[in-house]
Subunit: 344 residues, 2 copies
Amino acid sequence: MKYTHDQNSSVNKTLLALLFIFIIVGCSKSPLDPLPSWNEGATKKAIVDFVHNATQEGNKGFIQPEDRIATFDNDGTMWSETPTVEIEFIKSQLKKKMTTNPGLMKQEPFKSLTKGDEAALLKLKISDILKIMATAMTGMSEDEFADQALTFYKTAVHPRYRVPYQNLTYKPMTELVTYLQKAGFQIYICSGGDVALMRAVTPMIYGIPPEHVIGAYFVDKAVEKGDRLVLMRTPKLATTNDMAEKPVNILQRIGRRPVFAAGNVRTGGDIDHLRYSGEGALPSLQLMINHDDADREAAYAEKNGASLAAAKKFNWFVVSIKNDWKQIFSDSSLETTKISQAAK
Amino acid sequence: MKYTHDQNSSVNKTLLALLFIFIIVGCSKSPLDPLPSWNEGATKKAIVDFVHNATQEGNKGFIQPEDRIATFDNDGTMWSETPTVEIEFIKSQLKKKMTTNPGLMKQEPFKSLTKGDEAALLKLKISDILKIMATAMTGMSEDEFADQALTFYKTAVHPRYRVPYQNLTYKPMTELVTYLQKAGFQIYICSGGDVALMRAVTPMIYGIPPEHVIGAYFVDKAVEKGDRLVLMRTPKLATTNDMAEKPVNILQRIGRRPVFAAGNVRTGGDIDHLRYSGEGALPSLQLMINHDDADREAAYAEKNGASLAAAKKFNWFVVSIKNDWKQIFSDSSLETTKISQAAK
């Protein structure tokens, strides 16, 4: 009887000790970091403070739930743009077209394309670029185009990393999207990429539904086909959704300004996008991502430095990939091995 | 003691009787009707069955939450269109313009306008209509336009009912919007009305946020004003969002087909809208509202009868305002007194 009692007592003491350990561990541990792929620093602190304030009623930085609108550029902001995914898609579309129409590659501007490098492509005239885009991306129904886009994402691999393009989303940015969504923000993609090409993967890779994707698009025409209405992609480009077209399309689509906006340095394409976000009456935050990490991802600047100059002038936070991002891709091994292979 | 006991006993009996009444009333009463302004009938039953099936996993009619998209026309579907609210807005805008520019009313097509009747206006050439619309609705910033729209809604009254236009929403339809929203549907307005003019009131009158309004719009231009970007409304009409433009714009905006769509008989403007909804792979329901109630609201048909013919061909439910709607407006007194006054 005494032995049993002692045994119970020692079991109780062990349980009590375990309970204390749980309590101590529980209390000393900091709250779960919502942005684990971001290094501590001024930018991360600004984001966390902004979200905290936006969601605390009575706080000076409080933002009504219906006004919590955030817009993110896609290429170079949400995923890698070296090379641009859409250009790779266009190349793959033209390759398919050339098998059925071999004469195509002998004509300009397609002839230049076969040389293959993106630099040559970027030197083409606007009218030639539009001709290439229209040939690769229009003439089919929207349903057919969506299928072609899905096939591309399933089969194509990045020339350097040798993985599908959707594996090259930036982990710090997908964390940020999730963090903002949990704080009641509606997240939109606002990119110069083709809207249908992006929509084929945005729900899966970002958790962003099709209705929250704003992009360039070709005008559709509803035509009668076998007693059904079919939406056909025509070669008329409605908008490039770049530069000053970004705020115009944001207002047309969302009906108000974003209080959070992110873009990146390369062409100046996000300057008006971020200005539109920052010039509203509500508290807001803007991020301009700078690709300055040649070792882990890519380092490229803008010819005239306009995006960084605007960031300084308008008080946007410049995100240094090198310093602010602890990890870039979900598979961090891509950041080390594959680039050095590519450098060979 | 006996008296007291008898008294208690009779109090207890009364309480017991009341309890029984409560139970009987409680049990016999059907569950709360989500559509109290709709009369019982085939259309109401079809709506309730559709929503029930769409939300029951495992049911043949189940629709994944992300696919629960519904689109509603506005004029004549969500609120009264006799007269068309936008035309009244245009008249009020031109009246203001004429005070600052009295010469305007002496020029065509504005001269015709001063005669005032909508029938004369509807006979104008498309180019004249566009000229009138552009004069009334463009040249200002989007912020200024939003202010002008709000002022109109606050001050203008319907010529017949003598109440603000936002009091003339159809109660059965706002009930339907709320019912669908509670069942996880995203509700969009898809109308030929100007998107900014509608957005000024849709959150308040329908509980539909600005980003869920699809409409006609004039192209905006971002211009630099005092170190700020201002979006100015230019006279270039981007889309009328009518007829075949409805499915085109729905896909552009939402990225997929609606499984529920509602429009009304008058011009045939919703035929392609409803076809697009009905021709998808998912279970769907379409409503075509027929204004057949001269006593309580209005009775008007379509010249060629195309909308009703399409409803028959494509199995859409025709909503008879006379038979299907128990009550039309929130203030049901409008349905009796005011029309007879107007008839004088």
